[in-house]
């Protein structure tokens, strides 16, 4: 029984934190995320070299072959520093290939994820914002061994930068007549771009496919297994986002706490007032609590434990309901300066608004808990 990290994991945490503190303090994050691409490719390359990018990619494909609990440590740190990177999208795309691709597909695509040259993402949602099978409407036509895709995907994380999309499509009217294919950015009829959005550290956009021909070796799965695959990728996404949220929430709390220790009003540090202390204490209690839930979820994912999905939904529902409000509280406790562009707390507030709906909002996860046999 050990609900903690190994020494190696703690060392990794220290290493990642040091790297991010040096290379991406918040003033640097601001620059990176305001750039055209929204992140620093050079830095991403360095992270890949240090093994952070391909952490979970199997060793035979050039990755570190580590488990998700180890990745969790990295995600807490990228979350804490609001580091803009394609990490989360990349893990989902590479796990899609690792879990559902055949050996050839794995050998072809995974090394790029390990060395940081490939950027992938999951393109699932469409108009209607529906995470149920019904939400997949992008049309596929069979043409021999190939399929031809036409339609538009929305709310695609890192759409503008991705060069490989894991795309959910629909073959027929039956609820689970869906499939998952890999679509390369360079293919004919593919167009992707990012939307102007609130949290500049997290890009989100759309993918348009017009008669895009997908060769058979780009198909991952179809039918019932495809729907299960999609569900498991949404789950994974929710887990990764919640792990980053733990770090981000701790970052926001640390900023607000140190502000409250410094700032004086009516001749006294504002951190002395219970009106400031108590909300901060409540935020702390919430963070520690969804932290426990998501830690457990990552362990259960690694073990293939049946409780993983339930734990993820509990953690994501809890975090989606509380972290956005913690950001608002943080800004309020700062007073006027909190909502100026110049102060950092507003960056965390925006992160809260970004994380709330992605890979399922609280409503979605509460319903999912019931589906999974929880309350």
């Amino acid at each position: 029984m050990n609900f903690g990290f190994t020494e190696e994991q703690e060392l990794l945490r220290a290493e990642v934190r040091k790297f991010l503190n040096e290379k991406a303090p918040l003033e640097e994050v601001r620059k990176q995320c305001e750039s055209e691409e929204g992140f620093d490719r050079g830095l991403w390359k360095q992270m890949a070299e240090l093994g952070f990018a391909g952490l979970t990619v199997p060793e035979i494909h050039g990755g570190a072959g580590l488990d998700l609990v180890t990745l969790l440590v990295v995600l807490e740190e990228t979350g804490r520093s609001l580091f803009p990177s394609p990490l989360v999208s990349n893990v989902i795309a590479s796990q899609a290939i690792e879990r559902f691709g055949n050996e050839e597909q794995q050998a072809r695509w995974l090394p790029g994820f390990a060395d940081g040259t490939r950027l992938g993402t999951l393109a699932l949602l469409e108009e209607g914002d529906d995470l149920s099978p019904n939400g997949v409407q992008l049309q596929a036509k069979k043409d021999g061994e190939e399929i031809i895709l036409t339609g538009r995907k929305l709310f695609v994380p890192d759409a503008g930068n991705a060069d490989l999309f894991v795309v959910a499509y629909r073959m027929g009217p039956g609820p689970e007549e869906v499939g998952l294919a890999l679509v390369e950015k360079g293919s004919v009829g593919v167009s992707a771009s990012d939307f102007p959005a609130m949290d500049l550290t997290k890009r989100v956009g759309s993918l348009e496919l017009t008669d895009t021909r997908i060769p058979s070796d780009h198909l991952l799965c179809e039918g019932g297994p495809a729907w299960s695959a999609i569900e498991s990728l949404v789950e994974l996404g929710a887990a990764l986002v919640t792990a980053e949220t733990v770090g981000a929430a701790e970052g926001a709390l640390a900023i607000t706490t140190s502000f409250a220790k410094e700032r004086e009003q009516f001749g006294s540090k504002i951190g002395r007032y219970q009106g400031v202390k108590h909300p901060l204490a409540e935020i702390y209690v919430d963070i520690e609590s969804y932290k426990s839930l998501i830690y457990y979820a990552f362990w259960a994912l690694d073990e293939g434990h049946e409780g993983a999905a339930l734990a993820i939904s509990r953690a994501k529902a809890y975090a989606s309901e509380t972290f956005p409000l913690a950001g608002i509280n943080g800004v309020q406790l700062h007073g006027g300066v909190g909502y100026t562009w110049e102060y950092d707390i507003q960056l965390y507030l925006k992160r809260g608004k970004w994380m709330r709906p992605i890979y399922g909002d609280a409503d979605y996860h509460y319903d999912r808990i019931a589906q999974l046999g929880g309350l």
Binding site: D129, A197, M198, G275, Q332, G336, K350, K353, D361
Partner: protein
Amino acid sequence: MDFQLSSQEEKFRDEVRAFLKDNLPPEGEKRPADFLAQWNTKVREKRWVGFSWPAEVGGGGGSLMEQVILKEEMARAKAPGLGTCFMGLAWVGPSIIQYGTEEQKQKYIPDILDGAYQWCTGYSEPDSGSDLASLKCKCVREGDEYVVNGQKIWTSIAMWSKMMILLVRTDTEVDSKHDGITCLLVEMDSEGLEVRPIKNMGGGAMFAEVFFNDVRVPVENRLGDEGQGWQVTVSALANERSSIAEVYGLRRKMDELEDLAERTVRAGQKAIEMPSIRRRLQRADIRIEAMRLNGQRFLTKQLRGEPLGSETSINKLHRAALEVEMGELAMEITGSASTLMRGSDVAPDNGRWADYALGWPEVVIGGGTPNIQKNIIAERLLGLPKD
């Protein structure tokens, strides 16, 4: 208890309604290009700008109840504001009317009524926060001039203003921090005065920092006596009445939010039918109705000639909570699209809700943080000790 208008009040209300019918295009109809200019001229002609100010300074000489009726009808019809010099009409004008010299009245009041230019308010300082009276902006008299050095912050629309009503400290050797403060009327293009807009988290700028470096202000631009600045300010802020228009603003936003929830379909369900959304919309709706009626109770007190005290904090606290909650609701209603901003074809209403959800601090923190409002209520209305 009686919510009916007197026959005279009804007559006035009908006059306002007739004016609105004649001069405001029906909702949804396109307004002519020169509509706003014409509107401003017409309401000025009717003396509805500065409606409650004395007729001798060019105001409407209207009664409190008529003023409420006017604002209510205007808000209900979603008409543009009455007059364009927002802060001039809200508190600079009343302060000048109460404390100004004859010359000051003649020089500034007509321009405020005409909306000739904007005024801004130099109250807050970097270290004063909610503790306004702790201001430090230095001011020394040299002959017929005051020389000002220091800094102001959170000065709304400073970059678009021609004049500022400024609080400075002319005396530092005082027993109470409320003494030794003086009020000046300052031209914004004075030498040594610099305005730096404050970029907010939405990327825009409504507020600015204002720096004073040996800024010289003629003594005739002092409003009230030397050392009387706190008194001038308190009277001015007291003029900021528990605003009927404010409640109507929230009501209008609420109607739009309801409409948004009605239009938005996510995962095959209208957002307004999602129980978690619906109940919160209903709660907000009830609180806005309560604010409207609270306002009428405050009004009754005023009509009876009793001074309004700290009870307006009740509505301020409601408003602070509601602006945050309604922004959050807009986000939850629009789901994955909630954080998309202007310029994306799938951003709900072209990103205005995203702007709204980032815009609450200007209202919430500007009017005194919720913590300050709660202290006011606890200490002044419930008599609990200061912390």
